[in-house]
């Protein structure tokens, strides 16, 4: 006698209850608060906001908590929420040249107007596990000084004044901005859509792709012209009011790579650009993004495009971790029906193979 398996609904409910308990962990340990996540795991929050395409620290912290620290799951939660929000339009371009910088480094010039500012960075920390952080650590108050009023122009603009780097393309006033979350993507894609794809793209994927260009798979001779992190104002042009309305300020990281020069009989040689921009402090992400952005410009710059990082369709189709994780993980859904069909075919082929061999050896025996 056979009884078909049922009760899936109850199994789901029980699994979710179990998950809620696993998420909470031991009740002897205080529950983590959103403020704690936002304040003390700030870089995780930054990543979730960037790849989740939604600037909201509180929601990102909630997503991280709900996802038990699984950042791709948290990004997914934020994206699914974002998809339900009405879209009012695109902001005015942010002026990163007017950023209130907390950190700013250039590897191309020793000194730059406004100065190099090391800021809060892991760079030059010795990666030794610090037992004093384990509990009750109170850091020394940060050193302070009078805020500098010196402007901090972008290094690429300084190069640009002498024509040493290609000019940054200027959007036409009122030109529409592509949005791959609202329109289906077609190839070849324009740079606005490519950059949007990379900004939402998985940090690990972009890191590997960017790294591969450094190792020779589409080498583009990068210099970190400038990496800056700080606060910028966001403005929205309100048609009713007829002027740009300030929406508030956000933290951004911007990376401008200065790359291999181009030139031709009609055009003086100049450096080319790769660009990266992300919410919060996301240096690894923006540097990788800038490398990949430059790699994806191969065709436009008349270079041979043979390496994976230069392959627009390959990069853009596989950069999104929410898509990737969904499809990889869908393999755990039932596939009984298609597997059964495959099994039937395989059995038939094996049977025919056995029969044919048997017939062959009979024939040999008879001869």
């Amino acid at each position: 006698m056979y009884v078909a398996v049922k009760g899936g609904e109850r199994a789901i409910e029980n699994a979710h209850r179990l998950l809620a308990n696993a998420r909470r962990g031991s009740h002897n340990v205080p529950e983590v608060t959103l403020d704690q996540i936002s304040e003390q795991l700030g870089l995780a929050v930054d990543r979730v906001m960037s790849e989740g395409s939604l600037y909201d620290r509180e929601l990102a912290a909630l997503a991280i908590k709900q996802a038990r620290g699984d950042l791709i799951e948290a990004i997914f939660l934020v994206r699914a929420f974002r998809a339900t929000l009405p879209r009012f339009g695109a902001s005015e371009p942010v002026e990163t040249g007017a950023m209130r910088v907390q950190r700013r480094v250039s590897s191309t010039f020793k000194d730059i107007p406004g100065g190099q500012i090391l800021g809060p960075t892991f760079d030059y920390t010795h990666r030794l596990l610090d037992p004093s952080l384990a509990e009750g650590f109170v850091p020394e108050a940060p050193a302070t000084a009078e805020a500098s009023s010196a402007p901090t122009p972008r290094v690429t603009d300084i190069l640009g004044r002498d024509g040493l780097i290609e000019s940054s393309p200027q959007a036409e006033k009122g030109a529409s901005v592509g949005d791959l979350t609202r329109e289906p993507l077609n190839f070849p894609a324009d740079r606005d859509l490519r950059l949007q794809n990379l900004a939402r793209g998985d940090e690990g994927f972009l890191l590997a792709m960017g790294y591969s260009t450094q190792r020779g798979y589409g080498r583009n001779h990068p210099f970190a012209g400038e990496i800056r992190f700080g606060e910028v104002e966001v403005e929205f042009f309100a048609e009713d009011a007829g002027f740009a309305v300030p929406l508030g300020s956000i933290e951004l990281t911007e990376c401008q790579m200065v790359n291999q020069f181009k030139g031709s009989a009609t055009e003086a040689p100049c450096f080319t650009r790769g660009y990266g921009l992300a919410f919060g402090q996301s240096e690894r992400k923006t540097m990788s993004m800038a490398l990949v952005d430059r790699a994806l410009r191969a065709r436009e710059l008349g270079e041979e495009a043979a390496a994976p990082a230069q392959d627009e369709e390959f990069v853009m189709s596989h950069s999104d971790n929410v898509q990737a994780t969904g499809f990889v993980e869908h393999l755990k859904l039932p596939h009984y029906v298609d597997f059964q069909s495959e099994l039937g075919l395989l059995r038939k082929l094996r049977q025919e193979f056995t029969d044919a061999n048997a017939a062959e050896s009979m024939k040999e025996a008879a001869e």
Binding site: Y2, A80, T181, F327
Partner: protein
């Protein structure tokens, strides 16, 4: 914190309009994959987001929804999707194929013949039938534009040369209305003949790959084959152990670790309907009925 508020059937109206326009073009060009701006859904890509978006765009309060995965209403993903719509659209749900106006499916076409007042919505993982022969979208799009399907025939013929048969058992490519080669989603090839001249409208949604396509009712759907190697639907040669059906697609159940096997209908509604009508198989038992708990749907 702003508590999220969701629209009827979850999707916002602008998204529904976009999907609805894509559905109309898909119907007008049978088998052609219409690109659409697939949204991020509250379930993972690859788990039915395309089907869910199509269903959400067509579903109304008068509809009766059935959701199956592997032919069964009781697989966890089917339950999960059915609950999603019961919650966000408040629609009536059913497991009876006959009573449903919208059926969302993954990997099967119901055994009970569909009728004119039904829409069958397929969840599609990889909508492009040529994708495994040519990974580039720019190339496959050109091949469809020119109806240049030689590569597909070469692949099928290579199978014959190597194995003596076409070695595709599921997601078996079809040609729709004598023009577009189309992926039927990973249904077993057993189901392919049901797509041909079907009275119901068939809609296909691929969320991650952002494509919608359709087969209008009463449209010719032919499984690709060769004159000397005609298409053959596969079915394990046994009656269902529960209802005795001789013409339904079967799940293989492993009953022990000594080679014990039994075969039962993959379409649970069909099997239960037959048992209710008095049909019996070799291992029949009254199927266990789940008791309602915390409200019922389905």
């Amino acid at each position: 914190m702003n508590a999220p508020a969701y629209n009827f059937a979850y999707l916002d109206e602008q998204t529904k309009r976009m999907i609805r326009r894509a559905i109309l073009k898909a119907i007008a060009i049978p088998g052609y994959q219409v690109p659409f701006a697939s949204r991020e859904m509250p379930m993972p890509y690859g788990w039915g987001t395309g089907g869910v978006q199509v269903t959400a765009a067509i579903l109304g309060p008068k509809d009766v929804l059935k959701v199956i995965d592997q032919g069964s209403d009781d697989t966890t993903n089917a339950i999960s999707i059915r609950k999603f719509f019961a919650k966000t659209a408040g629609v009536a749900t059913t497991t009876a194929t006959e009573d449903a106006t919208v059926i969302q499916t993954r990997h099967r076409i119901p055994e009970t013949a569909l009728h004119e007042n039904q829409v069958l919505v397929y969840q599609v993982p990889i909508p492009e039938p040529l994708r495994f022969l040519e990974p580039r979208e720019t190339e496959t799009r050109r091949m469809h534009a020119l109806a240049e399907y030689g590569l597909m025939h070469v692949k099928l013929y290579e199978d014959i040369a190597r194995f003596g048969h076409i070695a595709t058992a599921y997601a078996y490519p079809v040609k729709v209305n004598a023009r577009y080669v189309m992926d039927p989603s990973p249904t077993p090839k057993f189901d392919n003949p049901k797509m041909d001249n079907c009275p119901a409208l068939q809609l296909f949604g691929a969320g991650r790959e952002k494509r919608i396509y359709a087969i209008p009712p009463y449209t010719t759907v032919v499984s690709l084959d060769f004159e000397d190697h005609p298409f053959e639907p596969y079915r394990f040669n046994a009656p269902c152990a529960l209802c005795g059906a001789e013409n339904s697609y079967l799940d293989e159940i492993v009953t022990d670790d000594k080679g014990g096997r039994m075969f039962v209908c993959s379409d649970t509604d069909y099997c239960e309907g037959r048992q209710a009508a008095g049909h019996r198989g070799s291992l029949s038992a009254a199927p266990y009925k789940e008791k309602a708990h915390g409200g019922s749907n389905g």
